[in-house]
């Protein structure tokens, strides 16, 4: 199955323009895929389980993900859909995954963003999000063990930093100097619980000195800033200096999941963050810098939309798994 062509290759143009176009294509694709999932397929009853999207947080998986080399390991959170696109997972596989069809990455064994593929070096998240933190350390240990220059990236939310295995994993990675970039999307809510009830320190990065890990905070809605921070982090990890923590300040522009109206969010907060939308900001920057015209951006969106129309159609035609598969693959029978 071929990957979608998401990257343009106009040679000889401003590097920032190139990068911006790449950012925009992934971010806009992620937004469009998730809008269709949350606002259409879920509401139409075609997705029967949980829907957790990353609306408003697209700059994080895109800005960080585009610093990864092909053989680096990715441990996405459930709000990092773009990481799958960057690794060549086709949107139609993602739609099929959400709809429980055999065309999804887990063949209907699991739903939503609970998917992975070791051939693409993507390790699937489990619902207890911080569990990925020591697992990423172990993947990085394997890379170091093999003398590889590759690194692991591990993504999680602010709520995950309250879990014990977050702390155990960071500590182990630090002690063993493992090449991991830890990326926190601090969207200020863990389900309904605000940051103030999650931790007494002001920022997630305040926790890093306790583990001897360098950390930096970045505007998570500024894809260029996220990208630069991730490059510094990756360089640090790749250089054999151990793990690095990035805290991307952002806001979850939806409920925890599609069923959650998020009426616990104080009045005005979402509106305030709407003004900081990472895609709108990127587009404005591109126009201001004359990297692209409005018409070019419109054209890109139209292309994405057409591609996704076909992807949804494909996914809807993908069959449900046969119940006879139920007992397969609990154990290895190779």
């Amino acid at each position: 199955m071929s990957a979608p062509v998401l990257v343009r290759s106009d040679k000889g143009v401003d590097q920032n323009r190139e990068l911006a176009l790449q950012f925009l294509r992934y971010m806009a694709t992620m937004r469009d895929v998730e809008d269709r999932i949350e606002r259409k397929l879920y509401r139409q009853g075609k997705i029967v389980g949980g829907v957790y999207v990353g609306r408003g947080q697209e700059a994080i998986p895109v800005g960080v993900g585009l610093t990864a080399e092909p053989d680096d390991v990715l441990c996405p959170s459930h709000r990092d859909l773009a990481l799958f696109l960057i690794r060549g997972v086709h949107p139609r596989q993602i739609f099929a995954q959400y709809m429980g069809r055999v065309g999804g990455l887990t063949r209907g064994r699991d739903g939503n963003m609970h998917m992975g593929d070791m051939n693409r070096r993507i390790i699937s998240i489990i619902s207890a999000m911080a569990a990925s933190v020591p697992v990423a350390a172990g993947a990085a240990l394997a890379l170091k063990y093999k003398g590889s220059r590759n690194i692991a990236y591990c993504f999680f939310g602010d709520g995950a930093t309250s879990r014990g295995d977050w702390h155990e994993g960071l500590n182990l990675a630090a002690v063993q100097k493992l090449p991991v970039v830890y990326v926190c999307n601090n969207n200020q809510y863990a389900y309904s619980t605000p940051l103030s009830k999650q931790m007494a320190c002001a920022n997630v990065i305040d926790r890093a000195p306790g583990y001897g890990i360098p950390a930096e905070m970045v505007d998570g809605n500024d894809v260029f800033a996220v990208h630069k921070a991730a490059r510094r982090a990756a360089e640090h990890a790749r250089g054999g200096n151990g793990p690095y923590l990035i805290e991307c300040k952002t806001f979850r522009m939806t409920g925890h999941s599609a069923h959650d109206a998020a009426d616990y969010v104080p009045a005005g907060m979402r509106e305030k963050w709407t003004g900081k939308d990472p895609i709108t900001r990127l587009e404005k920057k591109m126009i201001d810098k004359a990297w692209a015209g409005q018409d070019e951006i419109e054209r890109m969106r139209e292309e994405i939309s057409q591609e996704l129309d076909a992807a949804v159609e494909w996914a809807e035609k993908s069959p449900y798994p046969d119940a006879a598969e139920l007992l397969d693959n609990v154990y290895d029978h190779s």
Binding site: V73, T106, M115, A128, A131, P134, A137, G138, G169, V330
Partner: protein
């Protein structure tokens, strides 16, 4: 070569590390100190820090890191210092390791060694037999050797297995069992029980340290003219139903014996399967001899009362034989 149970485990891991450069160990105090039971003594010197990794006291991180390394194709052998502490890594085992293959087709070829069991005056947190927590989780394999030969053969199989394997090694057997273990490479298959003592009147189905209790009871009973067959399960998940049922059909009387507590222990599962699949062969009730439903007590008279022993087994086997 005469090896203790503990030496057999060490030799098994040692040989696998010599054979396969992707095998490595991680755990608490396993390197410089050689392990709380000295099981890994000498291994740091021989294999170096890269392959014998002393970790922080972080069971969740130990298991999680083993999973990450396993997903990348290495074959980690993680040590829980005591099986009792495995609870601290429980989520990683039952939710991460156990479900990767089923959910997204990824192999997690890891071994988690767990020194378990009582009889060493370890008290409530250094004596438990938590195997049934894991036999209840699809995707995990669970083994529990009773002999030095099986200890070596099963650790080798566990390391070579492509699924997560929990290896329960009984602490009371570490230096108590010493036997001739074949030199060099051999394995004991996962998923195969063994009839370790043939008999005709009563089947005792058991594993781990209780195999030795069953043998002691069998000696007494045989002097009384009661012939005992002992089935050593060796693997608790997946269960070797065929060997169990064959013995039941042969003797028609079943005694299930484990050191784990009664409720929810593997004995209940075996009783259900036997009644479902061999009911018409039974000539008496299925009897269980297990620890009672209490934490493991510390003081010697309490611990002795807690643990199953040959006298308790003999009494119930007599009841069955005369039923």
């Amino acid at each position: 070569m005469q090896l203790t149970y503990l030496e057999a485990i060490r030799q098994g891991i040692w040989e696998e590390m010599e054979r396969d450069p992707d095998v490595f160990m991680l755990g608490e105090d396993i390197g410089v100190y050689g392990g709380a039971f000295k099981l890994t003594a000498g291994m740091l010197d021989h294999f170096g820090e890269r392959r014998v990794i002393d970790t922080p006291i972080s069971e969740s991180a130990i298991v999680g890191a083993a999973i990450g390394a396993g997903l990348m194709g290495l074959r980690p052998v993680a040590e829980m210092q005591f099986a009792d502490f495995i609870t601290c890594g429980y989520d990683q085992i039952v939710n991460f390791a156990a479900k990767c293959r089923y959910r997204w087709g990824a192999a997690v070829p890891i071994v988690i060694r767990a020194p378990s069991g009582g009889g060493i005056h370890g008290g409530p947190f250094h004596s438990q037999n938590p195997e049934a927590w894991f036999t209840h989780t699809p995707g995990l394999k669970v083994v529990a050797p009773s002999s030095a030969i099986d200890a070596k053969g099963l650790i080798k199989s566990a390391i070579r297995d492509n699924d997560p394997v929990l290896y329960f090694e009984h602490k009371a057997l570490y230096r108590r069992i010493k036997e001739d273990v074949p030199e060099g490479d051999f394995t004991v298959p996962i998923g195969k029980a063994a009839v370790v003592h043939a008999g005709t009147d009563v089947s005792i189905i058991t594993y781990g340290a209780m195999v030795h209790v069953a043998r002691e009871a069998a000696e007494t009973l045989e002097r009384e003219g009661i012939s005992i067959e002992i089935v050593d399960l060796r693997t608790l998940a997946p269960l070797d139903e065929d060997t169990v049922l064959a013995s039941v059909r042969k003797t028609s009387k079943v005694l299930l014996l484990h050191e784990d507590v009664l409720t929810g222990g593997i004995g209940g599962e075996l009783a259900a399967r036997i009644s479902e699949k061999a009911f018409e062969y039974l000539d008496g009730p299925i009897v269980r001899v297990t620890a009672p439903d209490t934490p493991v007590p510390y003081s010697p008279p309490l611990e002795e009362a807690f643990l199953p022993n040959a006298a308790k087994v003999a009494e119930r086997a007599r009841f069955l034989a005369h039923y």
